[in-house]
Symmetry: C2
Subunit: 323 residues, 2 copies
Amino acid sequence: MKQEILKLGAKRVLIQLPEGLKQAAPRLAKIVEKAGALPIVSADPCYGACDLATTDAENLGVDMTIHYGHSKMVKYERVPTVYVEARATVNVNDVAQKALPLLQKWQRIGLATTVQHVQTLDVVRELLTRAGKTVIIGDAGHLNYPGQVIGCNYSNARSIAKDVEAFLFIGGGQFHALGVALSTSKPTIVADPYAGTALSIDKEAEKIVKQRWAIIEEARKATTLAVLVGLKPGQKRLEEALEVKKKLEDKGKTAFLIAAEEVTPEALMEFPTIDAYVNTACPRISFDDASRFKKPVLTVNEALVVIGALSWEELCRRGLLES
Amino acid sequence: MKQEILKLGAKRVLIQLPEGLKQAAPRLAKIVEKAGALPIVSADPCYGACDLATTDAENLGVDMTIHYGHSKMVKYERVPTVYVEARATVNVNDVAQKALPLLQKWQRIGLATTVQHVQTLDVVRELLTRAGKTVIIGDAGHLNYPGQVIGCNYSNARSIAKDVEAFLFIGGGQFHALGVALSTSKPTIVADPYAGTALSIDKEAEKIVKQRWAIIEEARKATTLAVLVGLKPGQKRLEEALEVKKKLEDKGKTAFLIAAEEVTPEALMEFPTIDAYVNTACPRISFDDASRFKKPVLTVNEALVVIGALSWEELCRRGLLES
C-alpha cells in the first residue's frame, strides 16, 4: 500500500472499506499518513467492489483510492485504485471437520468461499479427500480465484454444479452460502469459522424460493411499475432498464425509471402509487431485504416471468440470482 | 417545466424531489414524458437544494435536472437545472389567528417561513398589524425571498433579531421553527397550517441548547476525533475540514477525515475507535439526530469550544447553527 502511494506520488488518498471491516479505517489511515499522503475515509455503505467510490474520489480530488476487502470488479477506474484483499486468519479446519457428517450422503463435493478464505481451499480439499470425498473447485474465469464467489456472481460454483452432488461453503454468515444454494440448486453446507458451526442452508434457500414465487404472483396484479437503475459503478444497467421498461409498456403496464445510489425499503416507501419494482441494480437487494420491502421488488428475470416472457421453471433452472 | 424541456431540447431528464414530496414523482414524470423526454426519478434521500444530484445527473447522461420543492442554492450546476418551487395551497389564516394569544406579551414580531408559504407572509403581516402588532420581515439578501428560511440558513430572521421581541414562524413541523429559535435566541411561536395548531417551540429549543452543552462536555474527553466531510455539492467544505483537523492536532488530538454522502448514526457506528466527530457537512445533522448518535457529533463552532478557541457564551451569542 505504502509502495503504491509512493509510486503514484499520491498526495490525497480515499480509503473505502466494506461494512464490518470499517473499524480497520484508522489503522489504514495511519499507514497512508506515514507514506506522506492525506487519508480520507469513506463512511458511506459499501457492499462490494461494484460499489467503488469513483465519483467520491473525483469529488474529493484524490489521486488514488484504496478499496479494502474486495477483489477488483469494475474494469475501468477513473481514479487509480489499489485493491487490498482482506484475508481472514481464522482457522477453518475445525468447522470443515464438523461439516463432514453433514456431507455423509454425498460423494462428489464442490467447494466455494469468499476472497477472505480462498487460501484455505487447499487445506479443506485435502481434509475432504482424506475422508474419501471427490472434491471439485470450479473456475469459470470471471473472478480472481478458483472457488471464489461474490454476492452477485456464483459462476465458479455454477460451472461445476452438474458435476457435484452438494456444495461446502467456507465463510461467515448466510449471505454468500445462500447465493451458492440459490444459484446451483444443490444442497449446500456452510462451514462458518467465525460461529464455529457447520449447518445446512437448504431450508433457508427453499424459503426464499417460495417467497420469490409469492412475490412474482403479487406483482402480476401491478399496473404501475418502476424499473430501478443503480447508480453505483458496477450496478448501473441503464440500457437493460430501458429494455425492461419497454417490455412492460408493450404489455400495457405503466413503467417509470427510478435511479438510486441505495435501494432501501425507506426510499421506495416514498412512492406509494408504484405497485411493484423491477431492480436492475444489485440482485441481492431484492432477495435479502424482501421481507422489509412493502411492495414486490423483482429481479429482471422475475419480471420476465410476470409478463409471461419466461417460465418459472426455466427461471429456477437458470438460477434465481442469474441475470 | 415543459417549456424548459423544449427550450433545451432535453432528451433525458432527472427528476429530484425531497422526502415527503416524492409521491409527486409519477405526475412529474408524465409531464416530462409528454414533453418528449425520458424521465428518470431519483430515489435517494434529498433534504435540500444543497443536495442537488449533479453527479447522478452526469452519471445518467441526462440533459437537464428538475429539482422540485427547494429554491436554488448551489451557484454552479454542471447539468442545466430547473428549480420548481413547491407552493402550499393550505390556508394559514386560522393558525395565524390562533397564534395571536401566544404573541400577547410582545409588540414587535418578526415573521419567518419556508418557500412553501412565502406567498402567505403579506396576509399574516396584515392580520398581525390589525391586531396592533409591529411586524418586521427580514431580508439579508442570501435567500430568494424576504422572510424565507432554509434548514441551514436563518440569515433573514437573524438580520432582524435585535429589532423584534419574538418570531412567528409559518410552516409545518418543528425543524425550521427550531432553526429560527436556535439562530435568533428569541421566543418563537409556530403556526402550523397542516396540524392546525399554534404553539411555542421554546422549551424544545432550550432542551437542545442543554443537550449541545452536554455533548460538548462529553467531547472534551475525546482523544481520537474524525472530521466529517459532506459529499453533497452544497455541503462539501473540505478546506474547512482540513483547518479543523489541524486545529485538533495542534491541541494534541488524533484527527482523521471521514467523507460521507449521508452522515447517519449507522454509518458512524462502523468506527468504534473514534471518540467524537466534527461535522462540516449539514449542521442540522448534529442537532436533529443527536439522540440517535452514540458519539458526540459537533458542529465546527462547538469543536472550537471543545479546544478552547471559542467560549460557550460567544457561541450562544452567535447562534448555535451559525458556521
